[in-house]
Assembly symmetry: C2
Homo-oligomer: 498 residues x 2
């Protein structure tokens, strides 16, 4: 059970981290960063940012002699649309667990709307990701260095950097709006809550701020993945649900791993059946997350509505074929939509910093318990704080603080709390995205609103607009723009009365 919970632990990582590990060939810190940009540039996605580095303080919340150590935090600036003199707004992306360039590439929404708002665009990298390494190559060495990686320090970084930036740009009167998707969305929402004097509003896309403690049912994430597949095709759901037992039976069979390796077209013979399970599992989970209405390449290149496409593959195969072979065929869409892979590497992927960093965060503060119910299409499993704690202690030498996030940021009874406190927040969610279940799905007040789309997926609203965008997506973005406009109008009105 312990090894299984470790496995589960890996699977619940955010898309970004796993995405980072999956696309590690182009997503490595250092020299390879530019190749990502070049690649995207080739695809005619423009990300015209200048890179800067801010001397950031190591520890905002103690005054120990070493707290004031400085590291260089990366941030990107685009000022081509900014009307500084008119007090044009500053749109800040609160970076999440990865290289900030990648978020800039995948948050075209901000670039799309910048001209309309005459906005300055700033993307700030999260400490301990990308280039923003407080201890250089030693940053991930142990808990003695990693101990400074957490959300509160990241928020304080953003506060200090934004304040300094505004001062240096002599743009005190420019209002700041923060944007973020996924964990970055959680940071954006929390930033508005903790630093309302710095940001006048927050747009938090696909931010599962309620995925802690017992606020959201622990089984909801995998139930939501399962629902996506069930909605596409009941047969598809049943095939996948039945495939795990077939895999188990085959794996434990004499020479079973050889058969599994053959079936999964692995480049090298598998050492464990778990590798095949992980591989399938990840494909289904991440495809549900990025079940976008248009062809996209966030995690992997995928067609429009890839869950439906996967189910079409399953439903199209002969009745006699095994469930496992059907599941493999479906998962292949995720790993090989471009048809360029001749074989698959299911084992031996090294962790990128991004993955390792989130691993640390999940083992300390970001404790999001998850289980699989009997109704899900995955094998049922439970969650135990005790086992989780033991695993984390073993891995990092520190104990998780599983109730700290809700102590620090709240979450319980959020509607009652925030309807009496706070303002100017957008929580956008697409219900295809399993993370949506841990998000804010109802309007809380007139200015803390939930924008929900039934067919949307993981922060789809933050992606660049395309010619094929469906009406509901166009509408969602329009609503976001209108709300931000209202915040700004109010702000400028207040400013005049100063």
């Amino acid at each position: 059970m312990a090894s299984f919970s470790s496995y589960i632990f890996l699977i619940i990582l955010f898309i970004i981290s796993v995405g980072a590990s999956k696309i590690k060939s182009i997503y490595l810190p250092g020299t390879y960063q530019s190749s990502l940009l070049v690649k995207k540039h080739d695809e005619k996605i423009k990300i015209p940012f200048k890179t800067h580095y801010f001397p950031q303080i190591l520890d905002h919340f103690t005054f120990l002699p070493k707290s004031s150590k400085v590291f260089y935090q990366k941030y990107l600036i685009n000022d081509q649309y900014w009307h500084k003199e008119g007090g044009g707004p500053i749109f800040v992306y609160t970076g999440n667990e990865g290289n900030i360039d990648w978020f800039a590439v995948n948050t075209g929404f901000m670039i799309d709307i910048a001209p309309k708002f005459n906005a300055l665009l700033v993307f700030i990298e999260h400490r301990f990701y990308g280039d923003s390494m407080p201890f250089g190559n030693n940053s991930y060495k142990s808990a003695k260095t990693l101990g400074y990686l957490n959300s509160q320090q990241a928020l304080a970084d953003y506060a200090v950097l934004i304040r300094s930036l505004k001062q240096n740009l002599s743009s005190d009167s420019s209002p700041v709006v923060v944007f973020g998707g996924s964990y970055g969305g959680m940071l954006a929402a929390w930033f508005r809550l903790k630093y309302p004097h710095i940001a006048i509003g927050a747009v938090a896309s696909s931010a599962p701020i309620l995925q802690f403690d017992k606020i959201t049912p622990w089984s909801s994430f995998y139930d939501a993945v399962s629902q996506d597949f069930k909605d596409a095709s009941l047969n598809c759901y049943k095939v996948i649900k039945g495939s795990w037992a077939e895999l188990d039976a085959l794996s434990t069979h004499d020479d079973g791993l050889i058969e599994v390796s053959k079936l999964f077209r692995t480049c090298k013979a598998l050492h464990s059946g778990y590798s095949a399970r992980d591989w399938l599992w990840e494909a289904f989970v991440y495809t549900a997350m990025v079940n976008y209405p248009t062809e996209a390449n966030f995690m992997m290149p995928l067609p429009a509505y890839p869950v439906e496409e996967m189910c079409k593959i399953i439903d199209g195969l002969p009745k006699g074929a095994s469930k496992l072979s059907k599941a493999f065929a479906a998962a292949s869409l995720y790993y090989n939509y471009t048809q360029t892979e001749k074989c698959f590497n299911l084992e031996g992927g090294t962790d990128s910093h991004g993955l390792h960093g989130w691993d640390w965060q999940a083992c300390t503060e970001m404790v999001m318990p998850m289980t699989c119910s009997n109704e899900s299409m995955f094998p049922p499993f439970s969650f135990s704080y005790e086992e989780f704690t033991q695993d984390c202690k073993k891995q990092f030498g520190v104990k998780p603080r599983p109730h700290w996030i809700t102590t620090e940021f709240g979450g319980n009874r959020i509607e009652q709390v925030l309807k009496r406190f706070g303002s100017n927040m957008i929580f956008s969610n697409g219900m295809q995205d399993p993370w949506s279940r841990g998000g804010v799905l109802k309007n809380i007040s007139s200015s803390i609103v939930a924008l929900i789309t039934h067919k949307g997926a993981h922060h789809v609203d933050f992606r660049s607009e395309t010619k094929n965008d469906p009406d509901w997506l166009i509408m969602q973005r329009k609503q976001e723009v209108a709300i931000i406009e209202k915040w700004l109008e109010e702000y400028y009105k207040d400013l005049k009365q100063d």
Copy 2:
């Protein structure tokens, strides 16, 4: 100038810390604590609290191996009025820079109103004060231990403790209201801003949350002290204003210190004229702060409206007497109202932990620049961040972060920020109190309100009611009670709709 700025630095400490050093004969940590209580008990002030200790985490904002070290944080509980079953509220005092018993003694208001509200009373001691020493006797040893002493860690302590307490008492539905005076009031206000999910409202009395950066004019504190004396008597103000030059002239004179020692009736011959200046200065500043409408013993036993009494002494002395002798006579009221002192100890007082602790906080985060204008009754002086930084580096080996408090908690344009964000805060101030100038003095919104009294002094509203309380004080407290009632009504109404 450097030595003068160090001096100024001492003078701007909050009343509590200096109070602690002044009353050190009964205010020492450890064995002497109970004598304070006994003394007060003799005076028929009831403080029926039970003492508890909470295993608190050393560092909430990092996950270093040593962050999870536990120390024992003291807190006091009174449950005699609590209607737990009816979801009676929990009134929490967010302890400031001193022994929590002392705040319990001097916050009779909470005890007075507890029966009306059926409230549980909790007084939580601030880390690094009183008994709540994270490193025992070594807590003040150096920046390596003191580094964990700051307001954000203190607020997180309160959040963790309150959450745990409610869980242990099975009182999840009981709303929490936080109270605090002076620095404790700043903490109460900030707690509501940062932890609205834990406290439904905050009563912040005499909380100078705007005494940072350039939000409040740097000269306002000493101008306010001077105004108090000018309002009592213009002659009095002029005499004090003129006394400093006389002291300087006398001190630098041959055998001048002997004359000063004689004039000031010191127990031992003075080593420096600065001691006499400090002694006078403190008397005037703290008497202005505690210019209460009734006889009281917060810092020192004093008559009602002690500033007026001081000025009566000055104005009553013969015209021919020196200004310095008049200033001494006035200051003697502060140090010897009970007429029990035969001589005065102006030098050689050892710092209590309380003083030292605030000294550290003032040298790191609580940087409140202050100057004396030409219009004040004190000798003019300026403030320099550079000198301040040098002094602090010399004293503690760490550099102040003078703009951190406003980055973390805001303050600039507070009316515009909080009229659009936040709710349920009372900022009460008495305009006799020089700290009032750094407080919130205007209503910000319908539920973030300023309660101002012209004749009030440093958190006078938090003192126990007395028979001699003037109408304006009775009225101020009634307003506070009515507002708290409204918060609670709203909360219980929301709770029913859950």
